[in-house]
């Protein structure tokens, strides 16, 4: 199906004059002026209207000729949609546009909500058939979440990385931390053992530590850097101010480390959100393929 949609893409670049180039980025959602959205909408509306026009007795179900038709379309669609996983790994030259394929994947996947649900005839129960439908819905909903994240998060990602000196790369984030850690280590040398232990704890903590929920929620209760900063400030509050206090320097460094960590963690959170839906989408797709096979097999077995 998708191959039909792959004629040589019309130029997305506008005419170039001089050295300046105009480029219009055309995301997979608005690919070819929403071509696949239109196709999927027509498909869904066709199914919806025919559902009400076709008189199936005693009531709509997956076992009528109409139900079998919807089921066949749905199953073929599911198999084709799964193929995106293979397609995206195959780097093909020429007009085979992965973007078109992805666009079709998204919109035809959404139309499966209509096709699959009408196929059930709204007869749901505790059985393999409804299991397949539920898994399909889970896959689609996780896909919707993924699209939502893809549409909204990349902006946050770049905003978070933006700096007065330009964007900070992932490598630079680690290097900043390393540098701060080295400086902290040096600056903390004059401290007494108790204070030194606080700084040491901050140094020894893995900045990438934390479980999945901490990462996706960006909430790190046991952050040693924050703890060290707070504790050292508390200690210093009762000490007379003398010039050239090593704690001043340590405090400044800890503060910088904390803000670096905050940016890193925000970065990790956004990246986790960009990835997490796939951890549902992909395994559930395979569970769905298994349930779909069992569903079809069972229908023919108890024909």
């Amino acid at each position: 199906m998708a191959s039909k949609a792959q004629p040589a893409a019309p130029p997305v670049r506008r005419k170039t004059t001089g050295r300046q180039r105009n480029s219009m980025h055309d995301g997979f959602l608005r690919h070819k002026n929403f071509r696949w959205m239109k196709i999927a909408t027509v498909l869904s509306i066709t199914c919806l209207v025919s559902y009400f026009l076709v008189d199936v007795q005693p009531r709509h179900n997956g076992g009528s000729w109409y139900g079998y038709t919807l089921g066949t379309i749905g199953a073929l669609l599911i198999v084709w949609l799964t193929c995106l996983g293979m397609r995206k790994r195959a780097i093909t030259p020429g007009g085979w546009s992965l973007k078109a394929w992805t666009s079709a994947h998204v919109y035809l996947g959404l139309s499966l909500i209509v096709i699959g649900t009408l196929h059930t005839g709204f007869q749901l129960g505790w059985n393999v058939h409804t299991l397949a439908w539920s898994l399909m819905m889970i896959v689609i909903i996780s896909g919707i979440v993924g699209i939502y994240f893809y549409a909204t998060l990349p902006d946050n990602l770049s905003n978070n990385r933006a700096d007065s000196d330009g964007a900070v790369t992932e490598r630079m984030m680690i290097e900043q931390l390393r540098s701060l850690d080295r400086q902290l280590h040096d600056a903390a040398q004059p401290l007494d053992p108790g204070q030194a232990a606080l700084v040491q704890a901050s140094l020894e903590q893995d900045p990438f530590d934390g479980n999945f929920f901490q990462r996706i929620g960006n909430s790190y209760g046991g952050c040693e850097t924050r703890k060290a900063m707070a504790e050292l400030r508390r200690l210093r509050a009762y000490q007379p101010r003398m010039g050239d206090d090593p704690l001043d320097k340590v405090d400044g460094l800890l503060q910088r480390k904390e803000s670096t960590l905050a940016r890193l963690r925000k970065h990790l959170q956004i990246k986790a959100m960009l990835q997490v839906w796939l951890y549902v989408h992909v395994p559930m797709t395979f569970a769905l393929l298994a349930a779909l096979s069992a569903h079809i097999f069972s229908v023919f077995f108890y024909w």
């Binding site: 007795q57 005693p58 009531r59 179900n61 997956g62 000729w65 007869q123 129960g125 505790w126 059985n127 393999v128 058939h129 299991l131 992932e170 680690i174 931390l177 390393r178 850690d181 080295r182 280590h185 040096d186 903390a188 040398q189 401290l191 007494d192 053992p193 030194a196 232990a197 040491q200 140094l203 020894e204 893995d206 900045p207 990438f208 479980n211 999945f212 990462r215 970065h267 990790l268 990246k271 986790a272 990835q275 997490v276 796939l278 951890y279 992909v282 395994p283 559930m284 395979f286 569970a287 393929l289 298994a290 349930a291 069992a294 569903h295 069972s298 023919f300 077995f301 108890y302 024909w303």
Partner: protein, 623 residues
Amino acid sequence: MMFIVRQVALKADGSEIVRQTEVAGEELFIGRNASNGVHLPDLAVNPVHARVERRGGELFITSQSQQPFDIDGRSVESTKIDIARGAELRFGGHIIAVGAEGDAVTLTVRRIEAVSDSAEDKDEAAIYSLKGLLPGKRMSAWGFALLVLIACLAWPVYTWSSYKDLAYKEKVSRPAGFHADGLWSSGKMSQAHKTLKDDCQACHVDAFVSVRDNACMTCHEKDAGPHAPMTRQLTARGDPTGFAAFTRFVATSFNKPAGRCVECHTEHEGAGAMQPTQQRFCAECHDGMDTRLTNTKLDNAADFGNAHPQFQPAVLVRPLVGDDSKAPRKRISLDKRPRENNGLKFPHDLHLAKTGGVAQMGRRLSAKYDFGDALECSDCHEADKNNVGFVAVDMEKSCAMCHSLAFDKIGGTYRTLRHGEPEQVKADLRAFYRSTPPARPINLGSLARQRPGVVNSRRTAADYARAVNFRGGRADQAIRQVFSRGGACYDCHVVVPPSSSGALDFRIAPVAQTSRYLQKGWFTHDAHDKEECTSCHLAETSKDATDLLLPGIKNCRTCHVGETGESLIKVKKPVESTCAMCHDYHADKGAPWLLREQDKKKKRPEITAAMAHPGGAGARLRR
């Protein structure tokens, strides 16, 4: 005495730089402070962590705070080292190798831990992803898929194979409770089959073979009578055309033959009663059936309102004779105005007339029988127990209210002729004439009222003697009278004349009271009890008992419009009537499925075949 301290540092390219300092004296301190002999820039080390003292060939190392250190992997606060043998000390992230070089003690200091965790090598591709935080995609994909295949595919197939031997056995079923193939059930079973919910294999017998009729017939041999031979049914249905032909082709290619029970009786459509047969299923064959099934005796029918043949009651084609065990009946269309000689003479018009002798007699007897101003149908006709039809009219109960068979009165008691037993009637009449003398003339043997003269008294005596003598012979005359025109039997019955003139073997022709004329469809009076009898049965104008008082289809259509038939006759209160209101595919003599289901809902007894016309065929014939 001297300590040689060697600080080993790593260059970026991995090679080592060694800085050596020498500390004279017998003792030396290890700590983070730069003033110590061994300076360890390590936050895990105290400013002054330990003191090292040399006494001869031994080193005594003592912690200066309560902070311990490691020697050869053990954590201690003080220790003694044989310089010649050496040892390895550890303070925080540093190790110090103790050795001897000539007279001097060497302390080789090496940093073994990175300054901070972040300084360690990191796999950037991994740390910025969710790797390690969630179960891998590949792993869980295979895991879930395998789980689903085992639970929803392998297990049910295993269950099926372990109960395969129970197929086609009515009394045997799988043990109740959960079976894995229940996971395949696409919906609840209907009311009638709900006990089969755990026994998938009662119907799904063979793998990859659609449900066949023999599975249904395991239990339904008795109640699912065949409608017609399947070959005739398929012929009557004809070959599908257009889209139907396509779906039939697909169904056949997927091993789903046409004409199976389950085509109409779909299951797994949710709990509840089965729906009555839809009109279009009937019309599929019966609409224009004669063009396909050319030798059929049935007329075409598609809708009660506009495409249904006239009723064809099963009418007696001749009066019964002798001991006819079976009434000779034939279905004749009401359009042909069939008549039926049931062996009785009964003018309905006379009996229902508002004026005249019958009405007058009724009024006279109304104190006794509650007749009212004139007779009504219900005075003689009594509904059966379920108010479906009527029980046969009973002469003793109904006719005898007026039509007395009394012939003698002894004291205050009337003697009556025995109804239904002609021989007994003859015997009783003979006995009457034998045992009773003729009326004795009042002038016989007495002086009273006697005409003068002997002659007259002798004549009287002679007359009486002759009367007495011929008294018995009078019985024959009486018998002849009662069976002949004007006699009690002849008034109502067809009398079979004697075999020869002068003989007295009069017989009464058998009487048939038909309790059900329309045997192929269902009708109940109960549903029509708001109607007057005479609005359908034209009894008031019927002069003869041979009139068949059945209403025709036109009459029914004044209310019953069929499924689509309202266009034919506009009626005030249309009653939409599909085929299923009167007919069933698996018809028996009882009420059709549609009405039985209605009765069930109203908690009324369902009219089964046995209840419909109590007593069966025998009761329909009363002599």
